[in-house]
């Protein structure tokens, strides 16, 4: 029997209005899950609950067999999280920031220094390792965040729009890293708007819309619901089929 590493039962969350409604997830070890949905669908909220950042929610959730409510700390130790906004303390250098993160995870300083140096090199940031991040581009920041989220070698990786701002080469590199991590038994929970990447790397794709799970399956399974690329399936299922007429309307206004 395959081990389930993420499970939720009727996971719900309400702010002023409900943002998640009875989400039931079952993720197996070593899977790459593509978690997609329109803006405001509840993707980031799901990830923040599973990573222990949002503590109060309804329903049940467990990660690596641990209760998200009770064993938050142990879960945080064993997972990696890369947030949506490339927010870091940019008056620090990448090396200093990674040392700080390493200390929060109680890693050995020498281990952090070695890993930081080598990982920055992989992302072609060696020349900037000791430069303050104030003038870094979005892509450079994103690379530092990716390293920060993985430096402690987590078992499950939660990625919220991890490719934003990255150049084409870096996107291919990250894609390759995720595939190799999966081969090494890591689980990846991946939220993105980039449909082609999700289509290519995901074992299973979950589509969430207005806080509800509307599809869950392999790309082939989803294809049976609506034929075409993932982009087509997505628009079909999330009810946004009027793109063509909206674009026409836009052009019409421009030209008159």
């Amino acid at each position: 029997m395959e081990t389930l590493v993420i499970t939720t039962t009727n996971l719900s969350k309400t702010y002023q209005s409900p943002v998640l409604k009875n989400i039931n997830l079952q993720v197996r070890a070593g899977e790459i899950i593509g978690y997609i949905g329109p803006n405001g669908a509840g993707k980031s909220t799901t990830i923040k609950i599973l990573t222990g950042i949002i503590p109060d929610f309804e329903g049940e959730a467990s990660v690596l067999g641990l209760d998200v409510r009770k064993d938050t700390l142990e879960i945080k130790r064993r997972i990696g999280y890369i947030p949506e906004n490339a927010a870091l303390y940019d008056t620090l250098t990448p090396t200093e920031y990674l040392q700080f993160v390493g200390q929060l995870y109680k890693m050995e300083r020498s281990q952090v220094d070695r890993k930081a140096k080598e990982l920055l090199n992989v992302f072609e940031l060696s020349n900037y390792a000791d430069t303050r991040m104030t003038t870094f581009s979005k892509g450079m920041r994103q690379k530092v965040l990716l390293i920060a989220g993985m430096i402690h070698n987590p078992t499950i990786l939660f990625l919220d729009e991890p490719l934003s701002g990255l150049d084409a080469n870096a996107v291919i590199l990250v894609k390759e890293i995720l595939i190799q991590l999966k081969k090494n038994g890591k689980t990846i929970f991946y939220s993105s708007h980039l449909m082609d990447i999700v289509e290519k790397i995901s074992d299973r794709i979950m589509i969430i819309n207005k806080g509800e799970m509307i599809a869950n399956g392999t790309f082939t399974e989803l294809n049976s619901l609506a034929k075409g690329s993932l982009e087509k399936i997505f628009t079909e299922l999330t009810g946004n089929r009027e793109h063509e007429s909206a674009a026409g309307q836009f052009i019409n206004v421009l030209e008159n």
């Binding site: 927010a87 929060l104 300083r109 430069t131 303050r132």
Partner: protein, 550 residues
């Protein structure tokens, strides 16, 4: 309708003659003025509601300051000195405003991406920038000069009044040229980062100067014999622009046309005229070119590498007891020395130490040398020992706020059982980074004046200041460092809590004073003090997530 734009409309013909697209210029200036109104002035938070009559209010505030200058002109018997005070004030205000308030406008590279890609020619953009700055400074100059001009008109008649207005215009232009020249010079030799750092230190210096001037100048004025003051022109006066203007005014007022006054008048008139030509023809294109290059280079900046095992690297291990505490210590220690906005809030407090030191010294009726002579007989050094606590207090209040507050997600995603060690690491970093260096300087001053007799007090002062800091941190609301938006500043205040904290820390200072009367008691109190710190810090480290105010 914006009054300033209406004024600009009056010069529409001039712009059109200069080949400027007036409609575009008006749109750019209109948006920039709107942004000025929304820009937060340091230490002053605007309401969320759009201010309606900012123009009138701005004029009112400047006019209010102008009243003091007008009083000086009216009461100081020496006409020349009155004029020197006025022109120094106007020119310093304009240069300061250009540097402190307008640096962001002058060095704003967003025009490169927002306006330059649109079909706007360089001349219109340059004219829009210049108009914007002139309108802003015009408000300042007119507001500040209203009352002094009335005094000049009242005391000296219409002719001198007209010359006064002309000199005011020349002074404004001179200040703008000199400040632009200063910027250009900096830009030639300094990188973008260094330029921003220099401006930052300048802003800090200005904050101290304003506070210092406000507190110390009236006290010095009291001690000067103004009635018998005669202004004698020295060679170095020719280097000071306010004296050019004052000299020209005196030449007209007293009909003095000796060589000194002729030279001063000639410089006063020729410098702004020739300067304008140089700025327009030579400096502005260089300035715009340099500005265009700003923000576009991806060249690595200077490196910040701290060698392993070096002194700054070891500091963290000496003062902290766990990796998490050390992580917070290292991070805060570095950011306190780097983040310009935080420095702008905190570093002026160092200047206040000096200012308050002087104020306490000038309090007596004797002259400064007599006061200094009698200092060793006083217990004034105890006060000096606790003046640096001001820096700690300001820092503790400021440390939760940062423009990078969103980066605090890391505290919540990291496996931290409690945030206590982050807080204690922060407090220790503040103490080591800011207090210790200031204390070393103060200690040297104290040892020089009070000699070895003050050593016991200096030693006891260190743990006592730290105890005050930890108590202040424990009693205040607990926030994670650099985790809150600066706009939330001031909303977390609690008056009763603040007063109680001040009383508690003040008591500790009094305890020191009492102990200093019998120094042997200090020896007994010292281990007690260390024990107290241990317990306060231990309880502070136990801060739970529930204790944190978000």
């Amino acid at each position: 309708m914006n009054v300033l734009l209406t004024i600009t409309d009056l010069f529409r013909w001039l712009y059109l003659r200069l080949g400027v697209d007036y409609e575009q210029l008006r749109a750019i200036v209109g948006v920039k003025l709107m942004m000025d109104n929304r820009r937060q002035v340091i230490g002053y938070t605007k309401n969320k509601k759009e201010p309606t009559n900012v123009f009138v209010w701005t004029l009112f505030f400047y006019a209010l300051f102008g009243v003091f200058i007008a009083l000086a002109i009216a009461t100081v018997p020496s006409f020349m000195l009155g004029m020197v005070i006025f022109f120094s004030y106007i020119m310093a205000m304009i240069s300061m405003t250009l540097i402190t308030d307008f640096s962001s406008v002058l060095l704003d590279t967003s025009d490169n991406t927002i306006i330059l890609p649109k079909p706007i020619d360089g001349r219109t953009l340059f004219a829009a920038r210049t108009t914007h700055i002139i309108l802003y400074l015009g408000q300042l100059a007119i507001g500040s000069a209203v009352f002094p001009a009335i005094v000049v008109f009242w005391q000296h008649g219409v002719i001198l009044f007209l010359f006064f207005l002309l000199a005011l215009l020349l002074a404004v232009v001179t200040a703008v040229i000199l400040t632009n020249g200063f910027y250009l010079l900096l830009m030639q030799f300094a990188s973008e980062e260094k330029l921003k750092n220099i401006i930052n230190y300048f802003q800090i210096f200005m904050a101290i100067l304003i506070m210092g001037g406000y507190q110390i100048l009236p006290r010095i004025m009291e001690r000067l014999d103004l009635d018998n003051f005669v202004f004698e022109i020295q060679w170095w006066n020719f280097l000071l622009p306010p004296i050019w203007m004052a000299g020209a005014m005196e030449a007209v007022h007293e009909n003095l046309f000796d060589i000194n006054h002729i030279v001063l008048t000639s410089i006063a008139v020729s410098f702004p005229v020739l300067g304008s030509i140089v700025v327009n023809n030579y400096l502005s294109p260089v300035f715009n070119r340099k500005l265009g290059a700003m923000g576009s280079s991806a060249e690595p900046q200077s490196k910040e590498k701290i060698e392993k095992g070096s002194f700054p690297d070891r500091l963290g291990s000496w003062f902290t007891t766990s990796p998490v505490e050390r992580g917070a210590f290292d991070m805060i220690y570095k950011i306190l020395g780097r983040d310009r906005k935080i420095k702008l809030k905190i570093y002026p407090a160092f200047g206040y130490i000096l200012i308050f030191g002087f104020i306490f010294m000038l309090k007596g009726k004797e002259d400064i040398s007599t006061t200094l002579h009698h200092l060793p007989e006083t217990h004034f050094h105890i006060l000096l020992i606790y003046l640096s606590f001001m820096v700690l207090q300001v820092t503790l209040f400021e440390i939760p706020y940062s423009d990078d507050f969103k980066a605090s997600w890391i505290y919540f995603s990291a496996p931290l059982e409690s945030p206590g060690e982050i807080l204690s690491g922060t407090v220790k970093a503040i103490f080591v980074k800011l207090f210790i260096p200031a204390y070393l300087v103060i200690s040297m001053v104290i040892l020089y004046i009070w000699k070895v007799g003050a050593v016991a007090d200096l030693v006891f002062g260190i743990p006592n200041n730290f105890l005050m800091l930890t108590l202040l941190a424990s009693l205040s609301r607990r926030h994670l460092p650099l985790s809150m938006a600066p706009s939330l500043r001031g909303q977390a205040g609690n008056f009763v809590r603040t007063v109680l904290t001040l009383i508690a820390t003040g008591l500790l200072g009094l305890v020191h004073y009492a102990l200093s009367l019998k120094p042997v008691l200090m020896l007994i109190a010292f281990p007690l003090e260390i024990g107290l710190i241990y317990f306060v810090l231990k309880s502070y480290k136990k801060t739970t997530w529930k204790n944190i105010t978000l």
